[in-house]
């Protein structure tokens, strides 16, 4: 009950502060530009003085290049957006004092954390779905048909990847009292996760592997990484629980 009330407010906030619009526009733009960029790379090379000589050296772009571009662009911007949208979520409310006015009312602090996460997850879901549709259409037009089920799986995994960073940044926002500190802490967590994800052997257990799973599914040699999936879900749930506990113990 309290969760629904809080979620309604958070979704309304995503809408009224144009945050939903921002993620949607950025993701849509990336969904369109990734296949285009893959297809146009040779043409763009010709525009660069002296670039013409390299054109024969570049293999003709394929749908796989479009997918690789899509995964790279969306994952990078997605992480940045997760950081930007979640860092202030709790820290700013503590700093400004809006949270104090709400928690003296019958609204459990855990419900607030859960609602903030759910609202951000919803925004990312809508944006990812639209980017997927746009990316699918452009890849189909430029390179021919793409396997729908694989494309859907790739995008669900991308979404989960964003949620990991959203939850971790939300935890940073719960611990700190300023948006800047939360951003710094969140950024440190992002760097830690990506460094750990690139280590041999250990890396297979980190969220970055979700992208490998999705991308390899599209190229035919699917590498299913269940451990990474389990770890990602665990990071999300663990961060949310810790954020609630942290908020519970703070004087607001």
């Amino acid at each position: 009950m309290s969760f629904q009330v809080a979620l309604r407010k958070e979704l309304l906030e995503q809408w009224r502060t144009t945050r939903l619009l921002i993620v949607v526009v950025v993701f849509l733009a990336l969904g369109l530009s990734s296949p285009l960029l893959a297809r146009l790379t040779p043409e763009l090379m010709k525009l660069v003085p002296g670039g013409e000589a390299f054109v024969p050296l570049i293999p003709a772009p394929t749908a796989a290049d479009a997918v690789a571009q899509y995964v790279k662009n969306l994952s990078q911007f997605g992480v940045v957006l997760a950081l930007l949208m979640a860092m202030g979520a709790l820290a700013l409310e503590k700093d400004k004092g809006t949270l104090a006015l709400i928690v003296v009312k019958p609204m459990p602090r855990g419900a607030i954390v859960a609602a903030k996460f759910a609202a951000l997850a919803t925004s990312f879901a809508i944006a990812t779905a639209l980017a997927a549709a746009a990316g699918y259409y452009y890849t189909w037009v430029l390179f021919g048909s793409v396997e729908v089920a694989g494309w859907a799986l790739l995008n669900v995994l991308l979404w989960l990847f964003f949620l990991v960073y959203t939850a971790v940044t939300l935890l940073a926002s719960a611990i700190t009292r300023s948006q800047v500190a939360a951003g710094g802490l969140g950024f440190a967590a992002v760097v830690t996760l990506s460094v750990a994800g690139s280590l041999p052997r250990v890396g297979e257990y980190f969220p970055g592997q979700l992208l490998v799973w999705g991308a390899t599914r599209m190229t035919g040699s699917e590498v299913r990484s269940w451990p990474a999936l389990v770890v990602s879900v665990a990071i999300v749930l663990g961060s949310l629980v810790l954020a609630s506990v942290a908020l519970q113990h703070q004087e607001l």
Binding site: V26, L32, L36, L40
Partner: protein, 64 residues
């Protein structure tokens, strides 16, 4: 530029999105009384950092 001509119908929606976001951010910057950091700095970031510039302003720069 002739090479890009056949792709214009596909480039057009992308252009609309990017330009729309840019104009939206600039309009918000112009109408806003207070921003975090100077307005000039944000104008430059919005105009010259493609896609990310408007996003940075809209998420970090706006102040009531």
């Amino acid at each position: 530029m002739a090479e890009l001509k056949p792709w214009l119908p596909l480039l057009f929606p992308l252009l609309i999105l990017e330009l729309g976001l840019l104009i939206f951010a600039l309009r918000d910057l112009r109408l806003r009384e207070r921003t975090r950091g100077s307005k000039w700095m944000w104008a430059i970031i919005i105009l010259f950092v493609s896609l990310l510039g408007p996003v940075l302003y809209l998420t970090l720069g706006r102040e009531e």
